[in-house]
Amino acid sequence: MNPLLLSHFTATSSIGQGLIPTLNALRQRYSGLHPCNFETVDLTTFIGEVAKVDNAVIPENLSHFDCRNNRLALLGLNQDGFADAVRNAIAEYGSQRVGVFMGTSTAGILQTEIAYRHRDPQTGALPADFIYRTTHNTFSVGDFTREYFGLTGPAVVVSSACSSSAKVFASARRMIDAGLIDAAIVGGVDSLCLTTLYGFNSLGLTSEKACRPFDTQRDGISVGEAAAFALLERPPARLKPDDILLLGVGESSDAYHMSSPHPEGLGAQMAMQQALTMARLQTGDIDYINLHGTATQSNDTAEGKAVNHLFGNTVPCSSTKGQTGHTLGAAGGLEAVICALALQHNFMPAGLNTEQLDPDLNLDYLLANRDQPLSYVLSNSFGFGGTNCSLIFGRASS
């Protein structure tokens, strides 16, 4: 593929709001997970909650977008000067030439969950102040981002469960290559809600403890929330050495089961191999893998087999979900930013909470942070419905 420059990027999650707090948290092995006290949820589980999401004030002219998911989007967009970088891109390219590609799984469904508690006792109607389009609807966070910046070009939300905000890179790449746009706001925003907390619990997939990826005793995820964004542009003739490039994208489907991965991770292998092929790299070129690593028995087993099959056990890898929780539709975007930070700071984050590595998963899984020059990193994101996406990022100096 033609490499694309991540000219600006930012992330907001339970471990920090913006790049410096996020990097510091990773270096200090900080976990943002705490026992669940979200809303009226009465489950014994841990969550990765972003502090003070509800303090974000949606501009008055966009007040119909007001919901936790769009508040989190706003909070994230205004870290690290990202919104200003978008405005500069709009000034350079024009409002129709900057596309929006956002990933989410549940958008603002929390708004509907709450509205269902306040239905009219006679008619069953939802409260008059409930607005579906700009809160609950899957597109709302893409629509909000487009309206917030006054954009007039293409916009879309990708909603393929937990691969959503990895796959936005694939859609944006195609549209930039096609010449329809010159820059793309890509990212993921997913926020805590009852559907996912009770839903993953119903499947027996939430841990009662902070999640322990790749541990022998791993027993499920910790649901988290995040907003992560990158501005993608064609690279200029001269790049700075620590500029981050998107080099490869691989996508596949398991065609196996709605909520269980292919047991040998066949789809995951295909996605990783396609990303390598697109980046014109060999497995030996990859210095670090940010695993999907949800800490469910089946995900980590399938992913471990897939990674081992392609890479053997020599590539350092870790899941950062012990820090952030599983941020679902935002995970691909969040972990893309973590990969960019890793490349710029020659730093590989350890997997947290893992005490006894599963000996059946034969990987170089990092239990301690490691400082080492990095050239190329790979990030995996998989999801319900058997959707898989792998991204490869590299330093411009590589």
Binding site: D42, Q96, S105, I109, T112, E113, Y116, R117, R119, A125, L126, Y132, R133, N137, T138, F139, S140, G142, D143, T152, G153, P154, A155, V156, V157, V158, S159, S160, A161, K167, A170, S171, R174, M175, D177, A178, L180, L194, T195, Y198, G199, F200, S202, G204, E251, S252, S253, D254, A255, Y256, H257, M258, S259, G267, M270, G383, F384, G385, G386, T387
Partner: protein, 265 residues
């Protein structure tokens, strides 16, 4: 101006009073009268019986139109990347989950939860057909058809591959239907190819435009176009049915629309 070109090799259509593509063509050209009647969703025969029983309207509709399109195109579904575009996920399933979460017993069923994802139809399509190919699963609210068409066209042109677009929308039960009225289930599927084949029905070249969108001449079909997001694609299907070179503008996002230059093969 940037343009993207592809060939349409197969079509699937299912909606109110529109049973399949062959029988809908004379309705779209005005040769046959349009009789509105509730969309009849066939059981998804490709799925195993347990999955068939659990599949909701969105899965049934999407699989039906996708299967019609690949059969018409004479292509193997396992070779096709796919683009699924819908305003929302399965409406009945979402309503059932929200009702339970508002009750004293919040223990929603695991099947309901995994069927609640926006990519449920995509997951079942891959399971039903065995396609391990990439699937893009999109929403653009009322712009979903245009968003799907753009994504599919960029796949065809940039990845130089045939692909299948499956744009489908289903309705919510009350009380959500009042907050998001979608009149009935309607799905449009197109198999698109980067090169002309023996199956090619038409060549389309698309670009972004601010021209006014085409409307349907028939008032009831125009109502379908406006009341179901996937219906925004009906003017394109009408052009295919008429089989004359023409220029059609489809609704997309507000004043940003999609112009289609259409040439029959």
């Amino acid at each position: 101006m940037t343009t993207l070109t592809a060939y349409i090799d197969g079509i699937g259509l299912l909606g109110p009073g529109l049973i399949d593509w062959p029988s809908s063509q004379p309705i779209l050209t005005g040769q046959h009268l349009y009789h509105s009647q509730k969309t009849i969703l066939p059981p998804p025969e490709l799925l195993a019986s347990a999955e068939r029983r659990r599949s909701g309207a969105a899965v049934k509709l999407t699989l039906a139109v996708g299967l019609e399109a690949v059969t018409a195109a004479g292509v193997d579904a396992t070779t096709l990347p796919s683009v699924f575009s819908a305003s929302g996920g399965d409406g009945d399933n979402c309503h059932a989950i929200c009702e339970m979460l508002a009750s004293d017993d919040r223990q929603i069923s695991p099947t309901r939860f995994h069927n609640s994802v926006h990519n449920a139809a995509s997951g079942y399509w891959s399971i039903a057909t065995g396609a391990m190919t990439p699937a893009s699963v999109l929403s653009g609210y009322d712009a979903s058809f245009g968003a799907g068409l753009l994504e599919a066209m960029t796949q065809v042109v940039i990845d130089n591959t045939s692909t299948i677009l499956l744009a489908s929308d289903t309705r919510y039960p009350e009380p959500l239907n009042s907050a998001r009225p979608i009149s009935d289930a309607l799905g449009i599927s197109l198999v698109l190819s980067p090169v002309q084949t023996t199956q090619s029905l038409a060549k389309i070249t698309i670009s972004l435009s601010d021209a006014e969108a085409n409307q349907m001449n028939n008032a009831e079909l125009e109502q379908l176009r406006l009341s179901i997001p996937a219906g925004r694609g009906l003017p394109l299907l009408q052009a295919i049915a008429i089989q004359q070179s023409t220029h059609v503008v489809l609704d997309y996002l507000g004043n940003t629309r999609i112009a289609v230059d259409f040439t029959p093969c």
